[in-house]
């Protein structure tokens, strides 16, 4: 089977663009990624498009209506917050299978504001605030409090995640926000669902990201100077766990994916130079240090206290600013993360460059649940 390389990858600056349509945002990112690769829509043999909020509306085809209806096959996919990673992985798989040599993957989303989840639906009366909460801040708060229960993790340690990621985003011009948020600012922000304050919740933004994936044969023709090799692509669903149906288990699904990804790549956590992981809430990031094997069980609090996961630390996490400050356009997130890691592997990270980065990891979680992990390596 051919190895798969990323030859072009880019994202639009995340923000709020109510005057644009979803296909327009996706088209912009697609053109940027193809320009980055030095290719055109005529070179693309298939399009894999990830979008959640218009999952039934043929977003991929509508992107082609913006940039060139070449008649290629289009797959539209939705997989909660793992949507973008799923589209990327489908593109990867088509090259692995020998079906395609050059494909385009696009993730795009336009978001409203406010709370996600907890909307209920179904017959009878609303259950929100009656049978606990189904809102995302509460669900991920409960997951964080499980970590507090097991390891004594504190509100302050969770809050430090947000301080770190907001700091990182001041170095990323494509992030929604470039604002420092000191610890007391984070902890004193409006409490949404304890222990997550408003500054510990990801930002709902509009965004799009795209990648051009090619076979090894094509990559060698094009030259490997800026190429990024996909060492592992993994997708898992949540294995059964006792509380899974009451309390979505974002841990087991990630651990399963991480084990498979390390095996596929033939590397260990010690080989990873930077990680973009799914910090949809500050509480979630803490869980994934251990889930991804970046530290031993119960050491996540120490990781954030000691700055091991900050830019310049042992294993920088979310140097883009993460979902907390770069923003979280659901369907775009899983490709935007790949853009971030690729940028560092190419040595193009500017002020936030992780020095000497050769191997990086991306991770997303779609609640329900799906986990997508990619391990990427500098090709040249």
């Amino acid at each position: 089977m051919s190895d798969v390389y990323i030859m072009g990858v880019d994202m639009i600056k995340f923000g709020r663009f109510p005057e644009k349509t979803v296909p327009q945002l996706g088209a912009t990112a697609a053109l940027m990624a193809m320009d980055d690769a030095g290719l055109t829509i005529q070179d693309m043999q298939a399009l894999y498009c990830g979008n959640l909020n218009q999952a039934n509306a043929m977003v991929g085809q509508r992107i082609l209506q913006e940039i060139g209806q070449t008649g290629i096959g289009v797959v539209n996919c939705a997989n909660a917050c793992a949507t973008g990673a799923t589209a990327f992985r489908e593109a990867w798989m088509s090259i692995k299978a020998g079906v395609n040599d050059v494909v385009l993957a696009v993730g795009v989303e336009q978001m409203g504001r406010g709370l996600l989840g907890g909307g209920g639906g179904g017959a009878g009366i609303s259950k929100e605030g009656l049978l606990g909460s189904g809102t995302m801040p509460a669900v991920f708060a409960e997951a964080g409090m499980e970590h507090a229960r097991n390891h004594g993790t504190t509100f302050e340690q969770f809050a430090k995640v947000s301080v770190k990621n907001h700091h990182h985003s001041t170095l990323n011009p494509k992030a929604m926000y470039q604002i420092e948020t000191p610890l007391e600012t984070v902890m004193n922000a409006e409490m949404i669902s304890y222990p997550n304050t408003k500054l510990m919740c990801s930002v709902n933004v509009d965004g799009a990201a795209a990648a051009v994936l090619v076979s090894e044969k094509k990559a060698r023709e094009m030259g490997l100077a800026r190429a990024v090799k996909v060492r592992a692509s993994v997708l898992t669903s949540d294995p059964f766990s006792d509380r899974d149906l009451t309390m979505p288990d974002v841990n087991a699904v990630t651990r399963r994916a991480a084990a498979q990804a390390y095996e596929m790549a033939g590397v260990g956590a010690d080989d990873i130079d930077l990680v973009e992981l799914h910090d949809c809430f500050a509480t979630a990031e803490i869980l994934h240090y251990e889930n991804l094997g970046l530290c031993k069980e119960g050491e996540a609090g120490r990781m954030i206290d000691n700055g091991e996961v900050a830019l310049g630390g042992r294993i920088p996490v979310n140097v883009s600013g993460g979902l907390l400050s770069k923003g979280h356009p659901l369907g775009a997130t899983g490709i935007a993360n790949i853009y971030e890691v690729s940028t560092h592997l190419r040595g193009e990270g500017d002020k936030r460059q992780v020095a000497g980065a050769r191997i990086g990891m991306t991770h997303v979680i779609g609640l329900g649940s799906a986990c997508g992990i990619h391990i990427l390596e500098k090709a040249a």
């Binding site: 009366i125 605030g129 809102t135 669902s193």
Partner: protein, 143 residues
Amino acid sequence: MSEQAEASSPLPVVSWLKLPGDAEPYLEGHRCGECQAVFLGERDNCSSCGARDKMAAEKLSTRGKLYSYSIVHRSFPGVDVPYISAIVDLEGGGTVKGNLIDIEPDPANLEFDMPVQVVFKDALGRKDRDGNSYISYFFQPAG
């Protein structure tokens, strides 16, 4: 007609809250005869082990322990905040999410594994479009 509807008996908030006319309300679980996993709500097959048609209904305990929680300060219009969204492991099996009531919603008051009692009461006055009222379950600190 409408007066008759208003006077009708309250409905259960979820299908697995049972309201036997002649006895106390209770929560119903379905246990897999193969692997003993406990689920809320009726099902044919076990998502833990994949066994088919081995599910048996059982009455879940009204006693449990607080496994995890969040204190919710921001919700949708019409929802009273703050409140405690609690994950409770019931004695003998089954994990249930609900509101923990009759305790000030402050982390200082909440201990993991603190014992709680399942109680059944009106669903905070909420009614459906047809005017039906509902019985819900809640958790209370147990002495």
